[in-house]
Structure formats: C-alpha cells, structure tokens
C-alpha cells in the first residue's frame, strides 16, 4: 500500500494570481465547486470568483451594520444524496448573529446566537448540524434550519476556532492557550491540554488522517493526533500564525501568517514557503479536489495558489507535475524527457507497476512506462478522484460515491461496495489492492476489514468481513503468488503486526502475530517480502508465510538492521525491487537496499525450481535464506529440499521428523504429518480419517498425549481401544501417576491389555496401509509430484 504513495517528492506553491477588488480586509471565504469561490470582506461585499473564466462578480452587498467573520458552505453530501454544488452557507457576524445565505446572496434566515461576535460557524460532515462559537465563550449546536439544539460548552474566554471530529461526534475548540476535545454525548470524557504559549487562533481536524492542527499567537503551528499527543511543532515564525487548513485528502496543509504562505506535509515539515505581499492571511480554504488554495488577506486581496512540482518515482522514471496541466517524465537512465499535457487540471496521479494513472476533473489517463505518447483515456463519472491505488494488473479509483477497479486497458472490472461505506475518508492505510483482492478497513468499526474479490467486486468467502481483536491502523495485501495464498498484513492500535490468509481453508482465520511496535510497513512489488520498521529496527520479513508452516522458523527468516539512520517517525513509502524508500520525519528521503537473493528464491519456489533454489542458498551462504527455503519447501511439501534446508540451519529435530515423514508408507499419512509439522492437528486428523487410516489418526493423538481424543476416536470407530489404553497405562507408569480420568477408568475395566497382540495389530495396520498405497500410487503418481 505504501507502494501507491509513490514519493510526493517536493511540492511548491505556485501563486497563480491575486486580484485587488475589495479595499477592505477580506475576512472569510469558501469554495462551492473546484473552480468557484465566495469571499466576504469588511466592506459588506460578498464576491464570487470564477477561476475558469477569471471573472469576479459582486453577489450581494450586505447591510451596513453586518460585518462578516466566518463563512462555511453546507457540505454537498447531505443524507447520502449528492448535490451538484453547495446551495447554502452560514455567515457569522460581529453582532452576535449568524445568517444562512443562499447561492444568490439572499439571507434566508438570521439567528441571534451569541452575545458579542460569533467567531466561528462550522457544519458537520453530513450537514445535519451547525456549531457556532462566540466571543461570549459559548459553543452552541444548531439544527440545519437554525434551531438551537444545545449549548455544548461555556467558558470565560472567547472561543476563536472550532472544528468537527472525523465522525461528527466530537468537537475541538480553543480556550485561550488550551485545546479541548469534547464529545457530543454529555457524559463522555473531555480531553483538554495546553497546546501553545500564546492564544490559539485557528484549529483544523482532518477526517481522513484524524490529525489536528493548531495555530497560535506564539508564532507556531503544531500537529497533534486525536489523543492530544504532539507530533510536530514548528519553529517560531516572525509573526503570529493566523490561519491553518488541511487539504481534503489530509496529505498536506497550508499555513498563513503575515505576508507568508506555507505548504506543509501532514507530518509537519515544510514543502514550500512563499512570501506574497498580502498582509496577514486570515483564512485559508482548499478546493474540494485539493489542488487549489485560496486565502483571505488583510490588505483586501484574495490570493489563489495551487500545488505544483509534485513528484513521483518508479524504478528509473521520475515524473514531475511542472504546471497544473503538464507533467514531465524523465528517464534517469538515458535522460530521455517526455512532456505529458492534459486538458484539465491534474487532480491525482499514481505511478507504480509500470503504469502512470492520472486523473483530471473529467478524465482518467493511463500511461504505460513503455510508451509515453499514447495514453489510454476514459471519462470519469463522478469527477473528483480522492485516491488511486495500483496493483500489477489493475488499479482502484476512489471518489466521493464509490470504489472502481479498472484494468490498465481502461475497462471497468468491478465496483465493490458494502453497507455504510464512506469513501471520502479512505486513504492508503485503510485500502489495499492486490491482483485478485481488495481489503478495506471499516470506518464505523475499525476492527473490521472488508475483503472483496477484485475481479467480481463480491465479498470474499462467506461474505463475512475479517474482524481483528483490536482497532486496525494499517492494512496491506501481498502482491504476488496465487490468489489462494493471498495474505494480508495488519497493524493494529498496539502497533502489533499480524499476518493472516484471506482465503480461509478452515473456518477460523489463522491470525499470526509476526511483529511488535511496527510503525510502518510495505510489501515488495515483485515477491511476497514484507519490510517494516519495528521499534528501532528496520526489519525485512523475507518469508512471512513461514509463520503458517513453521512458527519457529519465522525469527530465522527475518533480517534486521538498526534504523537510527531513519531518525524519528520514519514512514516507508514503497519497496520496489530491492530498494526500500523511507520518508524521514524531517521530510528527507532515505533509501535502503535489501539483498536480492530472497526475491530470487521466491521466484524459484514459485516455479518449483528447487535445485536452483538449493544452489542459490549454497552460493549465498546466508542462514536467513536457508530458513526461507526451509519454509518454502515445507509449505510446498518438497521434503528433500526442506531436509537440506533444515540441516543447513541446524534444526536437527526437524530434519529427523522430515526423514520419518519420508519413510511413511502412504501419501495420506505423509500429508497428515506435514500438516502436523505445521501444528495443524485437526486437519491432520481429518486427512487420515478421510483416507480410512483410523489407527494412524489415533496414533497421532497418542503421540501428542491427547488421550481423550484418542480414546474418543477409538471408541467411535470401535477399534484399537486396547491400544489407547495400553499406551495410557505405559504413560502413567512412566510418570508414576494414577488414573484419574473417568472415561479411561470406565474402559479399563472392560478391556484387557496385551502388548503382543497390540503390536501385531499395529503391524497389520501398517502393512495394510502400505498395500493400499502401493495400489494407489500407480494411479496417482502423475498427480502427486513426489
């Protein structure tokens, strides 16, 4: 999944143009569509700016005594229905009122809300409630039509800014130097912390990444998580930070100050700084597609900026968004440069798996890395694509209405959906795509992961989602191998890394923990190798599936290295070929190379070239490689190779066990013992019973000291009861214990134990099995490889 987030290398803000229309301070603004903005100024004008036609119209001149402070458009998605454009906005003013104003500028309703000025007014995400904050220190919630629902909070100092939580069930507001998160439910716990050394003037909370921004008069801006933990604090600016705003996708944010506009990454470090001559930037607003930014300036300007110089890298290609509609593709190997031109503004792009996918407001362009001249172009239904995720054979587009899987030929393959799906908050951490499956973490219950077949869009298996025991933070599907062995790596809230198979053979998902304190992870694009940063160690799981065949093997397949070069809070962007790209907390990119041998080994194992695999391991002389080979061979039931590999890593007990499996007479019992090898007792038993090898099934349980089950089987099939009893007695004798098990006491009475007779019976069973196998092997030798 980090593969998708290919290297947003360097952003720049390009200030497009600024128009000097209102002479008075512009106090607030808001976008209606991606190209239309409304702004309000102290001289009572509401202006409409159309960026397509570069026109500016006066919408209305408000009455003389109305001084606007804040403006917020009602969200477009109301009750699940999509409206073409926003129809109404809330305008708060200095006289303690707020006004609901229509598109044409008519004041539909005016409500007396606060004593003193109403400093902020915000709709929640579904547009069902409005929150206002006043100079009087009160926070009030209103219905859509402007009826007072409740006064949520009251304090002695003015509330300068307020923001809704991601699910619209909490609000964040300022109280002097403190930030307060208050849930709407009255009895819930309030979170409060001191955030700045000066009064906090602006806050913002992004629903996609759940991070909080605050800007204060101490000339700093800070990034927090929703638990109030500080993630980033900026150095002190020359002037107070007056405005701050998340881009809709939560990847970047903008910061405004006196003559200053800054673009920052979500981790806080700064991409770009501009020093326009604007006075203080009092308010910032991103257009819905996240490509354009508008600022309300103290000198009466409205400033427009858009993001350029975004960069993507994949193998030898480096792509830069040079202008809004132009990309430059550079092949660093031969310095060939191609220029890609688009009809509309580029909204999103993704480069991976040899394809570049670019979406504009109306179309989707798919380029192959082999040919930059002729893209495949198809129209988009909805427009604003918020996320592109690529896999080798197809890619996923996410827009406000749904998810769509397209092939690189531009054919719509499937549209997975589930009840209560919210696509607007999906990001690379919560969606993962592989060649055959899609995994999506639910928003309402973060423990739940929905799994879909990528080709049909239907839910996988019995349709039940995968439910983890903890809230899931990040998911990633492995990219290679057959769909039956598709695995998903999951990082939960405790930062534990789990691995599980998507297609469950038995009913329970076998979820195995393979790492702790894992902050970030990524699958390799060409082999099922996982890399991650575990606490202070950079870790590569060369063969994570080993955990399903031999748990003890897993630690031996891991490569670890000190991650101190990645400094604080690193994030793995991708793992392509043998190169891992990591973004450090300070924004610099660092690379780490992983040995290419394990990729080769994966290839050999996939194509059953065990001789080559052995040769490779002997050549590389690496214990972790041998361990990987042992795991691969074992899961493919390639016993000879497994034996060599286990011998190489010094696991004598396992070598012996494998040898004993090899000597087993029938393929059913060897299969059962291979299952036993991986600890799947139930499957092993079922295999044997299915083949009619009842004695062998009983023997398995005897060997495991699983007496109850052994006796149960013997009784059920009316055979070898005496054998079980004999072994039990021997066991008790060896350990000097007395029989306490009621069932054994009961059967002890009726059955006589005669070791000679039992041994003869066992011999007979084995002879029978051998005979049966001999006849069957003639038939099956073709199907069964060994």
């Amino acid at each position: 999944m980090a593969i998708h987030l290919l290297l947003l290398f360097c952003f720049n803000i390009h200030i497009q143009y600024k128009l000097l229309f209102p002479k008075q301070l512009v106090s607030c603004l808001g976008w209606t569509t991606a190209d239309e903005l409304y702004s309000c100024s102290e001289d009572h004008h509401i202006l409409r700016w159309n960026l397509l036609t570069n026109e500016t119209n006066l919408v209305v001149k408000l009455q003389e005594d109305l001084f606007p402070i804040d403006l917020h458009w009602l969200p477009k998605t109301v009750g699940g229905k999509k409206q073409a454009q926003a129809e109404i906005f809330v305008l708060t003013s200095t006289d303690g009122k707020f006004h609901l104003v229509s598109r044409v500028g008519r004041i539909e309703k005016t409500v007396d809300a606060h004593k003193g000025a109403v400093l902020a007014g915000r709709w929640n995400y579904d547009g069902t409630a409005l929150i206002t904050a006043g100079e009087d220190g009160q926070i009030k919630i209103w219905s859509k039509s402007g009826m007072l629902r409740s006064t949520l909070a009251q304090q002695g100092s003015p509330v300068y800014s307020v923001a809704w939580g991601p699910d619209s069930d909490r609000i964040l507001y300022t109280s002097g130097r403190q930030l307060i998160i208050k849930p709407l439910q009255p009895s819930s716990k309030v979170l409060q912390w001191k955030a700045h050394d000066g009064i906090i003037v602006k806050v913002d909370w992004n629903p996609v990444n759940d991070l909080i921004l605050s800007a204060g008069e101490d000339c700093k801006y800070k990034v927090w998580d929703s638990y109030g933990r500080l993630l980033y604090t900026s150095s002190s600016h020359d002037y107070p930070v007056t405005s701050i705003s998340w881009s809709p996708d939560g990847e970047v944010f903008a910061v405004g100050s006196f003559n200053t506009l800054r673009l920052c990454d979500k981790t806080g470090w700064s991409y770009a700084l501009e020093k326009p001559n604007t006075g203080s930037v009092f308010s910032l607003a991103w257009s819905a597609d996240g490509t354009q930014l508008a600022g309300a300036c103290g000198n009466g300007h409205v400033i427009f900026a858009h993001v350029v110089e975004q960069r993507w890298e994949w193998r030898s290609f480096e792509i830069t968004l040079t202008k809004r509609r132009t990309m430059q593709v550079r092949n660093v190997v031969n310095d060939a440069v191609d220029i890609l031109e688009f009809r509309d503004r580029v909204i999103k792009a993704s480069l991976a798996h040899g394809h570049l996918v670019v979406t504009t407001s109306l179309q989707c362009y798919v380029y192959s890395a082999k040919n930059w001249n002729t893209p495949l172009i198809f129209d988009l239904k909805e427009g604003t694509v918020s996320l592109i995720v690529q896999a080798e054979k197809h890619f996923l587009l996410v827009d406000g209405a749904g998810l769509y899987v397209f092939s690189y030929e531009g054919r719509l393959i499937s549209t997975p959906r589930f009840p209560g799906m919210r696509t607007d908050i999906l990001n690379t951490q919560s969606v993962s795509l592989s060649n055959d499956s899609i995994a999506i973490r639910d928003k309402s219950d973060e423990k739940v992961i929905f799994l879909f077949d990528a080709l049909t869009g239907k839910a996988l298996g019995d349709g039940k989602p995968l439910t983890h025991k903890m809230e899931v933070v990040e998911i990633a599907l492995d990219q290679c191998g057959p769909s039956s062995e598709r695995k998903i790596a999951v990082i939960d809230k405790n930062r534990d890394l789990y691995l599980t198979s998507l297609r469950r053979l038995n009913k329970e998902h076998n979820v195995c923990k393979i790492g702790t304190m894992v902050h970030t992870m990524a699958w390799n694009d060409s082999a099922n190798i996982l890399c991650g940063i575990q606490d202070t160690q950079f870790t590569v799981w060369h063969y994570p599936s080993a955990v399903f065949t031999d748990k003890d093997l897993l630690p031996k397949t891991i490569y670890m290295k000190d991650a101190s070069e990645f400094s604080r809070a690193p994030h793995i962007l991708n793992y392509v070929g043998t190169k891992v790209t990591v973004r450090r907390g300070d924004g610099s990119l660092v690379y780490s190379s992983v040995s290419p041998y394990s990729t080769l080994l994966h290839e050999y194992s996939a194509s059953s070239r065990w001789e080559d695999a052995l040769r490779l391991c002997r050549f590389a002389k690496d214990l972790s490689l041998w361990a990987c080979l042992a795991g691969m061979a074992m899961s493919n039931r390639e016993l000879t190779t497994a034996e060599v590999a286990y011998a190489a890593i010094g696991e004598v007990d396992k070598v012996q066990y494998i040898n004993s499996i090899k000597e087993l007479p029938s393929k059913e019992s060897s299969l059962a013992h291979i299952l036993m090898f991986s600890g799947h007792v139930q499957e092993a038993e079922a295999t044997l019973l299915q083949a009619g090898l009842i004695y062998q099934a009983i023997q398995i349980h005897i060997n495991l000291y699983n007496w109850d089950r052994a006796l149960e089987l013997a009784v059920k099939h009316k055979t070898h009861v005496d054998t079980v009893l004999a072994y039990r007695q021997k066991f008790l004798l060896d350990f000097g214990k007395k029989e306490t098990n009621k069932r054994f006491l009961q059967y002890d009475e009726g059955v006589e134990v005669d070791w000679e007779k039992i041994q003869a019976k066992v011999e007979m069973e084995l002879a029978k099995e051998r005979e049966k196998a001999a006849t069957a092997s003639v038939k099956n030798s073709v199907a069964f490889r060994h």
């Binding site: 360097c10 020359d238 700064s270 770009a272 700084l273 924004g587 990119l589 660092v590 780490s592 050549f619």
Partner: protein
C-alpha cells in the same frame, strides 16, 4: 505802489492780459502744487505696484519653501521606512533562505543515503563476481 482799482475789486491781469480772479502768483503756485500733487500720486501708485509685486514674490517663495519642506519631511520618513522595508525584505529573504537550506539538507541526506546504497550495490557486485 499805487493801488490798482481792479486789484481792489479782486480782478487781475496776467501776462497775457487776460482777466483773472486770482492773483497771478497764487494762481501759478496753485498750478505748481497741482502738478506736484499729481506727481506724488503717480509715484505712490508706482510704489504700491512694486510692493505688491514683492509681496507676491515672497508669498510664492513661502509656498515653495513649504512644499520643499514637506518634500524633505516625506523623504526623511521614506528614508526611515526604507530601512524598515529593507529589514522586512531581509527577514523575508532569510525565511526563504532557511527554507531552501532545509530543502538542501534533505537533499544532502538523500544523497548520502543513495551513495550508501551505491556502495552496497558495488560491494555486492564485487562479491558476486569474486565468488563466481
């Protein structure tokens, strides 16, 4: 001197033997006085004109001086604000430089990481060739 009866009647003859009511001397003096008065009035008028011109000139000068004074004050203020402007500009440029420096530092770290990868890969290639 014998009294002229005419003179007693208040009548006199002048040189041109014209009959006069005033004594010729007085008449002459009156005429002189009249002329002198006229001269005086003329001169006063001239003086006034000259003084008026002077006042006008001085006024103009005053005005000019005033504008120059204002200009000087403006220039002085401008000079002061230029210093401040420069300071602000310097501040801005320094902020931009700091930004670029941070970017440079990021590139430096990236370069180092890539160099390390290159060295590792070279080592790997060498080893590979050696073993073969």
């Amino acid at each position: 001197m014998a009294k002229d009866p005419l003179a007693e009647a208040g009548l006199h003859f002048d040189e041109l033997n014209k009959l006069r009511v005033l004594e010729p001397e007085v008449g002459q003096k009156t005429t002189e006085l009249k002329e002198e008065c006229k001269d005086f009035v003329d001169k006063i008028g001239q003086f006034q004109k000259i003084v008026g011109g002077l006042i006008e000139l001085v006024d103009e000068l005053a005005k000019e001086a005033e504008t120059e004074k204002m200009k000087a004050i403006g220039a002085r203020n401008l000079l002061k604000s230029v210093a401040k402007q420069r300071e602000a500009q310097q501040q801005q440029l320094q902020a931009l430089i700091a930004e670029k420096q941070m970017q440079l530092e990021r590139y430096r770290i990236e370069y180092e990481a890539l160099s390390k990868v290159e060295a590792e890969q070279n080592e790997f290639i060498d080893q590979f060739i050696l073993q073969k």
